[in-house]
């Protein structure tokens, strides 16, 4: 009889979402405490994809650490490469030639399109719409084909080099890219027809995961996740690198800081990226694509194969690394996920004493509990999508 007297008790359900889960975009693990469908507490666990990129960087020359950056955010490796080489160039005190800067700007924006578009597709797929995902993948495929044409690799490109880019681009590549650029706005319109004004999409994203401008800055958010809250901060505008100060583009910003605003910001960025590529193609200057700084850049391959001095030069640079001025340098760059920063401490040898990667995904993953607690399970999925994280970069 005593059992009946006792009040009926309910208990919170703890559920482990991930690391193997269709919606956690890789190996993010969230431990959710649920009261029915409501999320009481959300704790992200990261580190499942840790490969020690920063430590590995200390054991490689500045040239050899470049491919490591491909594997940070593996869906926008081009942008990581560009950020890396810009930081190294600043440390070396050299500058890439004008043509190389334009090419880098161009391929970085291609990387931005391919990354944003996969983000759009998967974000929408998580909310339940399958068709926009495949529409966006078709566009990404064209970018990857162009990357393959450019450097032979589709994902891990390692195309930019310290002091320039690996090889010059062909006219055929430019023609195909221009074709893509002309098609892209109408393809985006197709995509937006299905999503932007869709009632269900709006119900799922408007007023979900709201974060105010002040709070967003305090959490250290960057990129589209920050601009969605209405903060007009873009590394490309405020600390221009490569040719970003010579092209025209707008920085779309949101108002409320909800999932829908972040969606609109990134869709706007896609169109701006397309605009930048178009300007780069139209204004592409002639000239060399590698800086004339023999102490810091690898000699041209055909000379290495023909000439003893160049061969020795190459050998020294590859084995020992260049002689780098002592000091430290931090360079941030605007990758699709946010601000990716490279911080080097140089002790004068060919390898960095310390290489630190400021990863936007790591910061963004930390804001998940703030966005998700108090919402429903379905909102957690929308929030994971909206902060646009890649666990390869988060865990490094």
């Amino acid at each position: 009889m005593e059992d009946i007297e006792k009040p009926f008790e309910t208990k919170e359900l703890t559920i482990s979402m991930g690391p193997q889960h269709p919606a956690t975009h890789g190996v993010l693990r969230l431990v959710l405490q649920l009261n029915g469908e409501n999320v009481v507490k959300c704790t992200p666990y990261v580190g499942y994809l840790h490969r020690g990129v920063e430590k590995l960087g200390e054991h490689r020359t500045y040239f050899a650490a470049l491919p490591l950056t491909d594997r940070l955010d593996y869906i926008s490796s081009m942008n990581n490469n560009v950020g890396y080489v810009n930081a190294v160039e600043k440390l070396f005190g050299i500058e890439a030639p004008e043509r190389a800067k334009y090419i880098r700007t161009m391929v970085a924006e291609m990387g931005r399109i391919s990354s944003h578009i996969i983000w759009l597709g998967t974000h929408v797929l998580d909310i339940g719409a399958t068709t926009p995902f495949l529409l966006s993948m078709a566009q990404r495929e064209r970018i990857l084909d162009l990357f393959e044409m450019l450097c032979g690799a589709r994902l891990t490109v390692s195309y930019p080099r310290v002091g320039g880019v690996r090889n010059d681009i062909s006219q055929e590549f430019l023609d195909l890219l221009y074709e893509f650029v002309l098609d892209f706005p109408s393809n985006m319109d197709d995509f937006e027809t299905l999503v932007t004004e869709n009632r269900i999409w709006k119900e799922r994203t408007v007023d979900i995961g709201v974060i105010s401008a002040e709070e967003a800055v305090n959490w250290g958010l960057t990129g589209g996740t920050l601009r969605g809250s209405g903060v007009d901060y873009d590394v490309r505008k405020y600390f221009p690198y490569d040719a970003y100060d010579r092209v025209e583009f707008d920085v779309p910003v949101g108002k409320k800081g909800d999932c829908y605003d972040r969606y609109l910001v990134r869709v706007g960025e896609l169109r701006q990226a397309n605009r930048i590529i178009k300007q780069c193609i139209e204004n592409l200057p002639a000239g060399p694509v590698m800086a004339d700084a023999p102490k810091f850049t690898l000699p041209p391959k055909d000379m290495v194969l023909k000439d003893m001095e160049h061969l020795i030069h190459q050998f020294i640079l590859i084995t020992k690394g260049p002689t780098v001025p002592e000091g430290e340098v931090y360079v941030g760059s605007e990758v699709p996920k946010g601000e990716l920063g490279f911080y080097f401490v140089s002790d004068g040898t060919g390898k960095p004493y310390r290489m630190r990667v400021r990863s936007p995904s790591f910061v963004h993953a930390s804001v998940l509990p703030r966005l998700s607690e108090g919402g429903l399970i379905a909102d957690v999925i929308a929030n994971i999508g909206t902060i646009d994280i890649v666990l390869g970069e988060c865990d490094r």
């Binding site: 359900l13 559920i15 889960h21 269709p22 919606a23 649920l34 469908e37 929408v124 797929l125 998580d126 909310i127 339940g128 719409a129 399958t130 068709t131 495949l134 529409l135 078709a138 299905l194 999503v195 869709n198 269900i200 999409w201 119900e203 799922r204 429903l376 399970i377 379905a378 909102d379 999925i381």
Partner: protein, 355 residues
């Protein structure tokens, strides 16, 4: 021929017994025809879905197995049949075994009352429509039991979601069909179709637009299809209530779901689109049509059913998914009031003699 068989049998067991045996045999044959026919339709409904959605998504759909990929459903079936049947250690085994059986059986049982053409229903019972609603509610037991018994929290949440969803939308669906019952004056599905044939428009979807709309939305929720596929929302609950099922037990849920789609489409066809009939004015304009034998009209029935099926696919390829609370809001705050308005409206018009 039947009479000669009867007299042959009667010489052994007597007249009444012979009639009974013959009836049972005929019913068994009908059951076999309906089940085999439906399962084939289900198999090709999956093929058709993959083709339709594929073409909507810049893909081609299955095309490797057999000509145009036509053998793909069989390949899938064979694959599922030979898969290992994994049962989680935490599972409540008897319930775990029983759940897919209940789900699948209740779906198949619903088939028994559907009139595919004039005079062909395995059981032409007077409460056909109620029977269908009852069976679709019974299917929810399969879902709840599978969610409960699998010992997985994802299954559990999926089962809970599905239970509340099916129960809420059952009400809206039942109420939306009340208008049809009022107009036809019967719950017998064959009678409903005949009444529609005698109605000027030839189908009830025209005067019962509101009921048809509510039924149409509730249909998606009842079958757990997008945009209401919350119980099996892949990105949230992995696969919902059947997360832990594998092999043929999974196939039973899968087949049950598609059979459910066929049944919902059939209910829509029978109650709102005139079943196997074409409107009377068409029949009068083309008199040779009434010369055709009865069974030919199954073509009309299937064509209407496949219009619904196509809508299922189309919606799936277009819309994102609702959230759980939004789904409940639509069910309770929009569909049920609308259905009630429709009932009042239909009843008033009936009393005034306009129907």
């Amino acid at each position: 021929m039947i009479s000669s068989v009867t007299s042959f049998l009667a010489s052994f067991v007597g007249e009444p017994m012979a009639d009974m045996i013959l009836n049972i045999v005929i019913i068994l044959i009908k059951v076999a025809v309906v089940i085999v026919g439906t399962l084939l339709h289900v198999a090709y409904a999956t093929y058709w879905e993959r083709k339709v959605i594929g073409h909507m998504q810049l893909r081609l759909g299955p095309r490797e197995v057999g000509p145009f990929g036509l053998l793909q459903p069989f390949a899938d079936g064979v694959k599922l049949f030979f898969k290992e049947d994994i049962i989680p250690a935490d599972a409540d085994k008897p319930i775990f075994y029983l759940a897919p059986v209940i789900f699948f059986t209740s779906a198949l049982t619903s088939l028994s009352v559907l009139p595919f053409f004039d005079g062909f229903a395995v059981a032409n019972i007077n409460v056909g429509l109620l029977f269908l609603l009852a069976m679709s509610s019974l299917g929810a037991y399969g879902i709840v039991m599978s969610g409960w018994s699998a010992g997985s929290k994802y299954s559990f949440l999926g089962g809970l979601r599905s239970a509340s969803q099916v129960i809420s939308y059952e009400i809206a669906m039942g109420l939306s069909l009340v208008g049809v019952m009022i107009m036809a004056g019967s719950l017998n599905l064959t009678e409903i179709v005949r009444a529609q044939y005698n109605y000027p428009t030839g189908f009830y979807a025209i005067p019962q637009i509101l009921g048809f709309f509510v039924f149409f939305v509730a249909m998606f929720a009842e079958t757990n299809r997008l945009p209401f596929d919350l119980p099996e929302a892949e990105s949230e609950l992995v696969a919902g209530y059947f997360t832990e099922y594998s092999g043929f037990r999974f196939a039973m849920f899968f087949l049950g779901e598609y059979t459910g789609m066929l049944i919902m489409s059939s209910i829509g066809t029978v109650c709102f689109l005139g079943g196997w009939t074409l409107p009377k004015f068409v029949m009068e304009a083309l008199p040779f049509l009434s010369e055709l034998p009865n069974f030919v009209w199954i073509v009309v029935f299937l064509a209407k059913v496949y219009v619904f099926m196509f809508l299922f696919y189309w919606v799936r390829a277009t819309l994102p998914r609702y959230r759980y609370d939004q789904l409940m809001n639509i069910g309770w705050k929009l569909l049920i009031p609308l259905a009630l308005v429709n009932v009042v409206f239909s009843g008033t018009l009936k009393i005034m003699g306009w129907f």
